[in-house]
């Protein structure tokens, strides 16, 4: 399986969840594990570009597929991915535990809806739970991420109301 563009050998155990494989075998601990039954959304990663729950998939099932984790959105030293930049600007996180899952869900959301409506934003983030910041700033961040994606670097420093 390819993870963030790098080919990796198969998981050592066919029972291993993709989330555990990413964290324990590959050391990609940016993918968080919250509920392990698909409710909290913390473990969301991209499978061939589509957001999925990595705790609801066995690692062996990802053989032959491309996985993108939060570590794969940008390179060390490079500017943040527009969705990461938007979360940073809008302060869309507090403790940060849910953030990688939100970011990956929003990457998937914006791929399907580049200029999401308020309803599409709510639907797009409804599968992710945040227990500290609240959702107002996360919604703002999604709108900001859409702006940044549409015109990278544009309207620098301006924050949506």
């Amino acid at each position: 399986m390819r993870v963030n563009g790098v080919e990796h050998p198969a998981a050592p155990d066919s029972r291993r969840l993709l989330s555990d494989h990413l964290r324990h075998d590959l050391g990609l601990t940016g993918t968080h594990v919250g509920c392990e039954h698909g409710v909290c959304g913390c473990c969301t990663v991209l499978l061939d570009g589509q957001p999925i729950r990595s705790c609801l998939m066995l690692a062996v099932q990802a053989e032959g597929h491309e996985i993108t984790t939060v570590e794969g959105l940008t390179r060390d030293g490079a500017p943040l991915h527009p969705v990461q930049q938007a979360f940073h600007e809008c302060h869309a996180l507090q403790c940060g535990f849910c953030t990688p899952g939100f970011v990956m869900s929003v990457v998937g959301l914006l791929a399907e809806h580049p200029s999401p409506t308020a309803a599409e934003i709510d639907e797009g983030i409804s599968g992710n739970l945040c227990r500290c910041t609240g959702y107002a700033s996360i919604r703002r961040a999604v709108r900001r991420a859409a702006e940044l994606t549409a015109s990278p670097g544009g309207r620098e420093g301006q924050r949506p109301a």
Binding site: G38, T44, L56, L58, G108, G127
Partner: protein, 231 residues
């Protein structure tokens, strides 16, 4: 292969089976993963309805023009299943085979009078929705049988699917599907059930839990059916 293994479970989308495995609520001896099987990924029209094969994801059904044209009720119901990220993996046939009494898609199949095609080494047969759901998480299928396709008749007008849940994307406390003059309820019995639109709670004895008492579920049925009939 299913016929040769003891205690085997079929794995397709995994969005219901994997949580059961993670919690050790299910401990099958073998998992048979369908995902690399070819020729099970089509949505197509046949016999005045729409056929959905075993590896079709719920999100594909949601976005399908064929479904929007031939069976918009199925599209509407799919959008009520969990969240988009779950629907990117979860399958329609898997939801039917899992037979959760609170799930939307089994009730839609029942309301429409649809059927599933099941295959085993012994051959292929068609099981009508009315004969498929046997109990809580239980179907009438044999352990070696695989649902390869679900067939949903074109949705008659008017149609509606309404439900009440505690949180967006949760399983419904109660729900109602209207397909023309047929009505099916979910979340209020061990299986989805057909009901009389004039007296929808007759014979119903829903269970109670932390989220809803039996009486509250009956109340919801009355309100939801009223809304479905107003569609």
């Amino acid at each position: 292969m299913l016929g040769s293994l003891e205690e085997a479970k079929v794995l397709a989308g995994g969005q219901s089976l994997l949580p059961l495995l993670n919690f050790r609520l299910a401990r099958p001896q073998h998992l048979v993963d369908l995902n690399r099987v070819t020729g099970l990924d089509r949505i197509y029209e046949r016999d005045g309805g729409v056929a959905v094969q075993a590896l079709v994801r719920q999100s594909e059904v949601e976005d399908s023009e064929v479904v929007a044209r031939a069976c918009p009720l199925l599209g509407a119901a799919t959008r009520l299943v969990a969240h988009r990220v779950i629907r990117n993996r979860g399958t329609v046939c898997g939801s039917l085979a899992h037979a959760d009494p609170a799930a939307e898609l089994p009730a839609v199949l029942l309301a429409l009078g649809g059927a599933v095609t099941v295959r085993s080494a012994r051959g292929e047969r068609t099981v009508q929705a009315a004969d498929l759901f046997a109990g809580v998480f239980e179907t009438s299928l044999a352990p070696d049988e695989l649902v390869v396709e679900a067939w949903f008749p074109a949705s008659p007008k008017p149609f509606a699917i309404v439900e009440e849940s505690r949180r967006h994307g949760d399983f419904a406390l109660a729900g109602a599907v209207r397909a023309g003059d047929r009505l099916a309820l979910f979340g209020v019995a061990p299986t989805p059930v057909l009901a009389d639109p004039a007296d929808p709670t007759r014979g119903l004895r829903p269970s109670g839990d932390l989220e809803a008492s039996p009486d509250f579920r009956l109340h919801l049925v009355r309100i939801l059916v009223e809304r479905a009939l107003a569609a």
